[in-house]
């Protein structure tokens, strides 16, 4: 993959900042379970604009269309701007043949998307919610992921990217809250990426679009409006399969992705204040192929690992990470690896505050590991 932005280093580009305040009240049904920690970029990165997540995704799609005449965007209701506004203005700017609605059929969208890519064009498909990606499971797992391999590289659908809003949103219940990354992480041939905010989303989405492998880009929908950052207006890409160490620490490694990263950063601050414990917070960023070295290095330093994700615990991606870490870091581990995840239930409506791996469950896990 070619990075269009000359980055000195990722750390130089992204400057983690600390949460301004720690919410202390008990979350109500409409209040979020996390405090967003915005990223910032160095002044050298040029002009920036205040954007939320859906706006930065829109900007990435705009760059993708303007720099590649073959690129097309399609899905349910993307023509008028999308139910989350991610494609707003693009049909007017680029025409109905490049940004268009499809019939309401996810397996059709995925199959069509693969065919567009096989036909040599850049294919950007939207699933309206990650919860509805399952009708397309066959096309994604049996077809997209295996296209290059099974044909001996005669054909491929590397120009394919599937975007889908994912994750908890406060009241999405069973079918507007799911985090399906682990289903796809069991599929060689796919790349799976989850951004934690607008700056990352723009660079990672452009990377996915330009990567020569089929990518699934999962967008935490609760961040669409609530996550606001100063995003570079220029075109840039960020590396896939590269995790970010956001807060450095010595005692415990906290690993998550998407919205959960913000939960963990707040937890790290609480742990510092209340327990005088130093946490290293890592955003995995790419679920597949994941950045094993960054995680291993951190755990070898801290000796303790907590993995937190919204998806159910059993066979969640945390299980893969835990198994790999115990294999690689066995002699460095001072406590069992802890997974703080969604429970093994469907995602409930009114019980969401009790379902999510919130900061207090994560905090409790830190205490447990330190007392082991």
């Amino acid at each position: 993959m070619k990075s269009l932005l000359k980055l000195h280093s990722l750390k130089g580009f992204l400057r983690p900042s600390l949460p301004s305040a720690i919410a202390s009240g008990v979350p109500g049904r409409q209040s979020s379970h996390f405090t967003y920690v915005p990223d910032t970029v160095a002044e050298a990165e040029g002009e920036t604009v205040r954007q939320n997540l859906f706006q930065s995704i829109n900007a990435a799609l705009d760059h993708a269309l303007s720099t590649d005449d073959t690129a097309v965007i399609f899905g349910e209701d993307v023509g008028f701007g999308g139910v989350f506004r991610c494609t707003v203005g693009l049909q007017d700017k680029y025409g109905k043949d490049r940004v268009f609605n499809t019939p309401l059929c996810e397996q059709g969208i995925a199959g069509f998307a693969i065919g567009v890519a096989v036909g040599g064009a850049t294919s950007i498909a939207e699933m309206q919610f990650a919860d509805y990606i399952f009708p397309a499971f066959d096309q994604i797992v049996n077809e997209a992921a295996k296209y290059r391999y099974r044909s001996g590289n005669l054909f491929n659908c590397g120009k394919l990217t599937i975007r889908a809003p994912c994750g908890a949103v406060g009241h999405g219940a069973l079918y507007h809250s799911q985090s399906p990354e682990a289903y796809f992480a069991h599929t060689p041939g796919l790349k799976i990426v989850v951004p934690r905010g607008p700056i990352k989303a723009k660079g990672l989405l452009l990377s996915c679009i330009r990567d020569d492998n089929p990518c699934i880009f999962l967008e935490p929908k609760v961040l669409y409006r609530s996550a606001v950052e100063m995003v570079p207006t220029k075109e840039y890409t960020l590396p896939l399969s590269s995790a970010d160490v956001l807060d450095e620490g010595d005692d415990v490694t906290l690993l998550g992705w998407g919205t959960q990263v913000h939960v963990l950063r707040e937890v790290a601050q609480i742990a510092r204040q209340q327990l005088n414990v130093s946490c290293e917070v890592i955003d995995l960023v790419t679920i597949l192929p994941w950045d094993r070295q960054t995680v291993f290095n951190s755990v070898k330093k801290t000796g303790r690992l907590i993995i937190a994700h919204e998806a159910p615990v059993t066979n969640g991606f945390g299980a893969e990470i835990a198994a790999a870490v115990q294999n690689e870091c066995f002699l460095h581990l001072e406590a069992p690896i802890e997974r703080v995840c969604g429970f093994d239930t469907p995602f409930p409506h009114v019980f969401e505050p009790f379902y999510l791996p919130d900061k207090w469950r994560c905090f409790s896990a830190i205490k447990k590991l330190l007392n082991y």
Binding site: L104, C105, V116, G152, P289
Partner: protein
């Protein structure tokens, strides 16, 4: 499938009624809505165009006799209406005949080789050679083909060599697919034939996507998508038909309706008038042809291609035929259908026999040529077969490559692990049959 909350639940903008109406349908509805001449005389629901009726009548599926089967020649190879004789050149006709018979010869030898355990699996094309060659001959050689698995004749027409067929079935180092897929899962960029995969119907919406890309590229090509009548029951078939129509894609859907999906007869596959009757329901131009009449298939495909390419619209061809062979080498079809039924189709309606009768009537072919060609065919296939059997399998590193464009670290590690493992336990692996290029 998609459940949708009201958008206000996610605090996103609502779209107005005006924004819901798009394209010609919007204009149509608006003109109706505001036309005083029409007033209440016609319904103006956005979802359909039709008239009122005060009679309570269900539309019954048996209102008509079924879509007729288009044919050009009868079972004796005689042209019925000279106006529809495609009047192909002698060379073309002989080439069509030779490719059909070459396919038939290859099928017989490969089928036997599977019976002898020399390849793991095979699927013959018996009785459907006419659908392959007739359609392929009517296409531009650069039109992209998506197939199911029983369309080897399309590749044969386009000049895919016997060696490449054999190499794929043997999974040897000559196989462009690197020995990864089961036999008969052919593919070729050179011959514009997308690699076959086992999951049925998945190729259908993909073919539509490629046709859309072709339309935008304005390359003058169409996409052709073959599938069986059993496959047409998959959800992906529905998706493909609907997407191709709403997105105005230059694609030919070519259905091989051979009466069976493994053991399942069409009476258990659908209850409507075959697959063709679904075409108009999706807004597609549709025709049903005699799949054992290579000229009918040729004419229909040629006309379909013209429609698809000049008007950017999908066309559905349903070729009626009969699966003379077993479903595959893993199937004994006598368990679910009579030998007499098979014999009927093999002896009275075979596409190869019909074309041969036509050629003989034209003076383009005779017994001596037939005998010599049969011998020649068999020799060519046997020689290619022997070459394929002698070749090594690819170096087993190919187990790990092409999963991604580049090999990620974790796969590189897994390869290194297996390499050292095989070094240590070499006696337990068939390494001598595999190339040593790891």
């Amino acid at each position: 499938m998609a459940g949708r909350l009201s958008w206000s639940a996610f605090n996103v903008a609502r779209r107005s009624f005006g924004q819901q109406l798009r394209g010609s349908q919007a204009q149509l509805i608006n003109s109706r809505t505001f036309s005083s001449a029409l007033g209440e005389e016609q319904p103006n629901f956005p979802g359909s165009r039709s008239k009122w009726t005060e009679k309570l009548e269900f539309v019954q599926p048996d209102l008509y006799d079924g879509i007729p089967v288009y044919r050009v020649m009868n079972r004796k190879g005689e042209i019925i209406d000279p106006a529809y004789d495609p009047k192909l050149e002698k060379d073309t006709l002989v080439k069509m005949y030779k490719r059909m018979t070459m396919l038939n010869t290859m099928d017989r030898i490969m089928y036997e080789s599977q019976r002898q355990g020399r390849i793991s699996f095979y699927m013959t094309n018996y009785g459907e050679e006419g659908t392959h060659i007739g359609s392929a001959a009517a296409l531009d050689d650069n039109d992209l083909v998506y197939g199911q698995y029983r369309e080897a004749g399309v590749l044969m027409w386009r000049g895919f060599s016997l060696d490449r067929f054999m190499n794929q079935c043997y999974g040897n180092e000559g196989d462009m697919g690197k020995g990864r897929q089961m036999p008969v899962h052919y593919g070729s960029t050179e011959h514009k034939f997308v690699t076959i995969s086992s999951p049925l119907a998945t190729q259908m919406p993909q073919a539509v996507g490629t046709a859309y890309a072709f339309k935008r590229a304005q390359n003058g090509l169409c996409v052709v998508c073959y599938f069986g009548e059993g496959t047409s029951s998959e959800g992906d078939a529905h998706a493909a038909f609907n997407f191709s129509a709403t997105l105005d894609c230059p694609i030919i859907f070519f259905c091989r309706n051979n009466g069976y999906a493994i053991s399942t007869p069409t009476s258990e596959q659908y209850r409507g008038d075959g697959v063709a009757a679904r075409g108009p329901a999706y807004g597609m131009a549709t025709i049903r042809v005699d799949g054992n009449d290579v000229f009918a298939v040729y004419n229909a495909t040629k006309a379909a291609r013209h429609l698809a390419v000049t008007e950017n619209r999908p066309v559905l061809i349903e070729a009626m035929t009969y699966r003379i062979g077993h479903h595959s080498t893993s199937d004994d079809s006598s368990a679910y259908r009579s030998v007499d039924e098979v014999r009927h189709w093999d002896s009275t309606q075979h596409p190869i026999a019909r074309l041969r009768a036509y050629l003989v009537q034209q003076g383009f072919w005779d017994e001596a040529q037939e005998k010599q060609w049969k011998d020649d065919c068999k020799r060519q296939v046997m020689q290619s077969f022997a070459r394929a059997e002698r070749r090594q399998k690819p170096g087993w590193k190919a187990l790990f490559t092409d999963v991604y464009d580049d090999m990620p670290d974790h796969l590189q590690e897994q390869f290194e692990y297996m390499k050292s493992h095989v070094d240590e336990y070499e006696d337990h692996y068939p390494t001598k049959h595999f190339a040593k290029d790891n």
